[in-house]
Amino acid sequence: MEHLSSEKLAYLVDERPSPSERAHLKSCTRCSEELNELRIQSHNLLELAALRPSPDNWESLETRLVNEGLIRNKQERFRRFGITALPIWIQATAAILLFLGGAGFGLNIGKDETSNALSLDKIIASTPEIETADEAARAVVLAEQAYMQALLHFRQFSDKDDENQMDDPLNRVEALEGLLVASQEALRLAPTDPLFNGLLINVLSQRQEMLKQISESR
């Protein structure tokens, strides 16, 4: 007796058999059992449950969504570090430094992991080549860690005894200058990013205001 081919049996899982195929299946236990197994297999495939991705997948997706400007409110990120109460200009700086970190600073940290120092000069001066997506992803993660560490230190520092430092117009101008350079560098890398364009305008107007106050006071 000639048995039905495995492709023919697979076809019969969801198609009607011809009269000759039906007759064969009635008389051949091997083929009818095999067809039954194939039907069970297809049924089991349909019942396969969804698979839960690793929790790390969200972390890396979120980083990419932020870098691509698809997540615009960073509250979720800042909340994780307990620093949502910080002034908005510090959070804006975080966005810029995080962005710049992704563009280059992270690689420098990667090369010298013993150093945790974070300085704006270092960020702006560093222009290493990022050649692969892995390098870029690693750079972002390292820069984020370094930045958040620095931001927490800043918070401790500002909570203690430096509350009045930013009231000094010269200090504010100096901080605004740093923010200006960082905004310009961010815009060089992402000229159409609405967040950085908005920040640059804000920084320029605040700096002008401060300079005006200083010149009026003299």
Binding site: S6, E7, K8, L9, A10, Y11, V13, E34, E37, L38, Q41, S42, N44, L45, L46, L48, A49, A50, L51, R52, P53, S54, N57, W58, S60, L61, E62, R64, L65, V66, E68, G69, L70, I71, R72, N73, K74, Q75, E76, R77
Partner: protein, 187 residues
């Protein structure tokens, strides 16, 4: 917050809304891309690409289809695209003699699912795509043909080959199990 509110907020770049959508749909998105990819690393990359594409395309979502259907289709397309790239880079050949390594004693349903996933991973790429899209995800041959850029008949013939190959793979596992069992008894 209902789904359309979440979508509106996600379009505005609200991280919490995007995360809620992710929490809700990531298992289904991940399952289809992981199975089509046939590999954990490629599956993770595909899932991420699928979500990036979906969030980018969110302003174009008109609500004509259900969000779950819409994002599922994006995930499938993303996985198929990644597979095309991966296939053009290298031809993967996996020996079918590998055994399933279970980290703990699974229930019979879990064991069955594990065996099916194992066999799916070992099907050639073309067959795997079709059997997943048809038998697991329930797409028709016309839909699969459109997704793959082939005729519906090609999808059918690939499906029949895939079912047969899958059956062989599962039989080889059963034979292996029976051999191990008889060796255990003979000791």
């Amino acid at each position: 917050m209902n789904e359309s509110q979440l979508i509106r907020k996600a379009i505005q770049g609200d991280g919490s809304a995007i995360r809620s959508l992710y929490e809700r749909y990531s298992p289904r998105v991940y399952a289809v891309v992981r199975r089509i990819a046939g590999d954990d690393d490629l599956g993770n990359d595909c899932a991420q690409e699928a979500w990036i594409s979906a969030i980018r395309a969110l302003p174009k979502f008109r609500g004509e289809a259900r969000f779950s259907t819409w994002i599922h289709r994006i995930a499938v397309n993303s996985a198929l695209q990644a597979m095309r790239k991966a296939e053009s880079r290298q031809k993967r050949e996996v020996p079918i003699t590998e055994t399933i390594v279970a980290s703990e004693t699974p229930s019979s349903d879990a064991l069955l699912a594990q065996r099916l996933e194992w066999a799916l991973d070992r099907l050639p790429g073309g067959m795997r795509k079709v059997i997943i899209l048809h038998d697991v995800e329930g797409y028709t041959h016309d839909e699969i043909g459109k997704m793959l850029g082939t005729a519906a008949g090609t999808s059918k013939s690939q499906l029949f080959k895939a079912r047969g190959k899958m059956r062989e793979l599962l039989k080889s596992l059963n034979t292996q199990d029976n051999r191990e069992e008889s060796e255990t008894w003979s000791i």
